[in-house]
């Protein structure tokens, strides 16, 4: 499993044990305070550290997004969601200077990111890419140590600070006990923790994560997201993650960006923007949105499958649950009166 846990919550695999703990209430509190303090602007705000202005993003000749502007609120845990090929990963690649915009520019601390020295950027902005390669025969400690590269030089190869931070990063991600293991012997969940440890060791105030939970099973997904939340809350880092699971996004994000077809459809605090209409508009999914009984954040329940001929009919299941509990819930598919 995750090899000892370090600073982490009790190692109950799976959701129920974890979710029942008091930690959930803390999450909730922090989330609301963060959300109210940095009430997120919808218009791009040049005062934030990382912004993209009027971006046109394209691979070869295929344009993914045009005139896209975005700003990442400082000290937020921003999550970008959207259907496949909506340009969310592309946006992340552009923000991390991996992809050069065809037009527009990404600004880091007010300067065009492409004009800054590579190592300087790497000391401010980290990225956990979707796919990374662990060289054959590398140990966990060696791999995490490579996160220190932007802080090192030809004659400053391994300072005491480097060593301390690598140890701390491994402790924070619960991989300290795996330090001498070879990375390719580890399980998928452990390996993802090691990569996150490497990104943490980079010590950047801004950290971008491209689908950090892909290929992980559910308890490791939650595990990784909890870890991200910790990084965000305890170390005050600004996190930007692309996630596939809307419910994970709604639970963990302090700032949610919903994208479709290369455009930002909505952004803001999840509790405010996640509605059935938005989900239908962004994902084309009929659903209802209720309150997550664990975290109080929006929970998206996809509409039940129904025979095709009835698919266009007025959604009757919604009325059944409406009286039950959740006042926020919105009937699926059809525009609700008053909204």
């Amino acid at each position: 499993m995750r090899g000892g846990g370090g600073a982490r919550a009790p190692g109950e695999p799976g959701g129920p044990g974890r979710a029942a703990s008091t930690g959930t209430d803390d999450d909730k509190d922090t989330e609301t305070t963060v959300a109210s303090s940095s009430a997120s602007p919808v218009a791009p705000d040049a005062r934030q550290r990382l912004t993209g202005q009027d971006l046109t993003l394209a691979y070869d000749r295929r344009t993914v997004a045009e005139h896209l502007s975005v700003s990442i609120p400082d000290h937020s845990f921003t999550v970008v969601v959207g259907p496949n090929a909506c340009g969310k990963s592309t946006l992340l690649r552009a923000l991390s200077r991996m992809l050069k915009p065809t037009a527009g520019s990404v600004l880091l601390d007010g300067q065009a990111i492409s004009s800054l020295p590579a190592k300087k950027v790497a000391r401010t902005l980290g990225l956990l890419p979707q796919s990374s390669i662990a060289p054959d025969g590398i140990t966990v400690a060696d791999l995490v140590a490579r996160g220190r590269y932007p802080h090192q030089g030809l004659l400053r190869q391994w300072s005491e600070t480097d060593e301390r931070i690598v140890d701390e990063s491994m402790a924070a991600t619960g991989v300290a006990e795996l330090a001498d293991r070879f990375v390719d012997e580890l399980s998928g969940g452990q390996r993802q923790r090691v990569w996150i440890a490497m990104a943490i060791a980079q010590q950047t105030p801004l950290l971008l994560l491209d689908e950090p939970t892909t290929y992980l099973d559910i308890q490791h997904q939650i595990d990784v997201l909890d870890l991200c939340a910790e990084l965000h809350e305890e170390q005050g880092r600004t996190l930007v993650a692309v996630l596939h699971d809307l419910n994970h996004a709604a639970r963990y994000a302090t700032h949610l960006i919903a994208m479709r077809d290369g455009e930002i459809v909505a952004e803001g605090e999840p509790g405010e923007i996640v509605t059935a209409e938005l989900v239908e508009r962004v994902f084309g999914l009929r659903c209802q949105v209720i309150e997550d009984p664990e975290s109080g954040t929006p929970l998206v329940i996809p509409a039940a499958r129904r025979p095709r001929r009835q698919a266009t009919a007025v959604p009757e299941p919604a009325t059944g649950t409406k009286d039950a509990q959740a006042p926020e819930r919105v009937a699926a598919g059809e525009p609700t009166p008053g909204r």
Binding site: P135, G137, D167
Partner: protein, 419 residues
């Protein structure tokens, strides 16, 4: 440098690991966050070759190699030299020892090789002559005839080993070495063109080899480039180029006059016979310029092995590093080929053998260079002992050994599920 700047040696593995936490098994971390005063610090790694497949839950302490210095358990992976001024250099202890041993071996074999021939010279005499204290006859034989040959062997071996390590690291594949992906054939095509079509001098042949290798390198790079270079595409394009160039070389040979063809065939096998100072100087110059360039980029190259995205994120200038390294490796290969012909498989085997000795994941640049030098000198000595001076070109022996090794490598890779 005052006394304070002297790096002081201190091992941390002997100290109780900080934090007071019991650390189970040999997999415990070698250093702790609490300390940070030591000048020489080490990380432990399980020494046994890593087991493939599902690994045991924890590497037991008993599995660590005994007797590696003061560490007591596990072998020291690296040592750090630090000065008070904040400078620090990290050295992989095992890799350094391997490099040192290989260098010693290469130099010793070089001296033995100097003593080998129709006029044998003992080891001590050879050393004395090299130091300028021999008889006139020995002096002539050593300095004019045999020393240049040995130097060419050392330099060619080192250049090929280094270039091979760079290529294999860039391609992330042991098959991505210059003799597999067409640079050797490209150099050969250049040299054959000069020999067959222009009957050029040996200097012109060398120039043709360098030019051919460079053009091939650029063509393969351009053909394999698609939003950056990927290992497999480089290997596949290179193998295609190698096949085409082999065909061209075969065609050139059929067009050649008999004398030219004989000369071409000897050149094509890769030979150290009759090498003199004219081959040494250009090769030495190329190595003197390019080896520091390659070593200077070694850290960036190591980061590239994490994948382009990770390397980018960590501040490596990915494409620039790759281009510089590729160009340097192509030039090293071309210069080596120009001096001794396409000596087979040294570039393929050296980095792999070096890696198995150092047990270190990185590109192992210097150990590979030392291994290449040692290999080629030893192979030249072997061919001379077995078949007499200049009877058999050294490339035949390296080809036979290297080919065997390549087959073994392919079988091993297949077992590991990678081919």
């Amino acid at each position: 440098m005052n006394a304070d700047d002297q790096p002081t040696a201190r091992t941390t593995a002997d100290q109780p690991t900080g934090g007071g936490k019991p650390r189970p098994g040999g997999a415990a971390q070698g250093t702790s966050a609490a300390q940070g005063t030591g000048a020489v610090q080490g990380r432990h790694a399980p020494a046994g070759r890593r087991a493939r497949g599902p690994a045991p839950a924890r590497t037991p302490a008993a599995g660590a190699r005994p007797g590696s210095g003061s560490a007591g358990r596990g072998h020291r992976r690296s040592a750090t030299l630090r000065t008070r001024g904040g400078l620090s250099v990290r050295v992989d202890v095992r890799a350094s020892l391997v490099g040192l041993a290989l260098t010693t071996l290469a130099l010793a074999m070089g001296v033995v090789l100097i003593g080998t021939g129709d006029y044998p010279i003992g080891f001590a005499d050879a050393v004395r002559t090299l130091l300028g204290d021999g008889t006139v006859a020995q002096d002539y034989i050593v300095r004019e005839l045999r020393l240049p040959r040995v130097l060419v062997a050392l330099l060619v071996g080192a250049a090929l080993g280094l270039a091979g390590a760079v290529f294999q690291s860039l391609a992330r594949n042991p098959l991505g070495s210059p003799d597999v992906i067409g640079f050797g054939q490209g150099s050969a095509a250049g040299a054959l063109t000069v020999i067959v079509l222009f009957q050029g001098t040996s200097a012109q042949v060398a120039a043709g080899a360098v030019l051919g290798g460079l053009l091939t390198g650029l063509a393969v790079y351009a053909l394999a480039w698609r939003r950056g270079i990927q290992g497999y595409r480089l290997v596949l394009v290179g193998i295609g180029a190698a096949a085409m160039l082999s065909a061209v070389n075969g065609y050139l040979l059929t067009k050649a006059e008999l004398v030219d063809a004989a000369r071409a065939v000897v050149w094509l096998t890769g030979s150290l016979g009759g090498r003199d100072w004219d081959q040494v100087w250009p090769l030495l110059l190329v190595c003197a310029v390019l080896v520091p360039v390659v070593i200077g980029h070694a850290r960036a190259l190591r980061m590239l092995e994490l994948g382009d995205d990770s390397a980018y994120a960590l501040g490596v200038r990915v494409e620039r590093t790759r281009l510089v390294m590729l160009l340097a490796a192509v030039l090293l290969t071309a210069a080596a080929t120009a001096a001794a012909g396409p000596v087979a498989f040294v570039a393929l085997t050296s980095p792999q053998l070096a890696r198995r000795l150092t047990r270190s994941p990185g590109p192992n640049l210097l150990p590979a260079a030392c291994m290449g030098a040692a290999l080629l000198v030893t192979a030249d000595w072997g061919t001379q002992r077995a078949f007499g001076a200049d009877q058999l070109p050294v490339g035949v022996l390296t080809g036979m050994l290297g080919g065997t090794y390549l087959l073994w490598l392919l079988v091993a890779e297949r077992r590991a599920g990678r081919v």
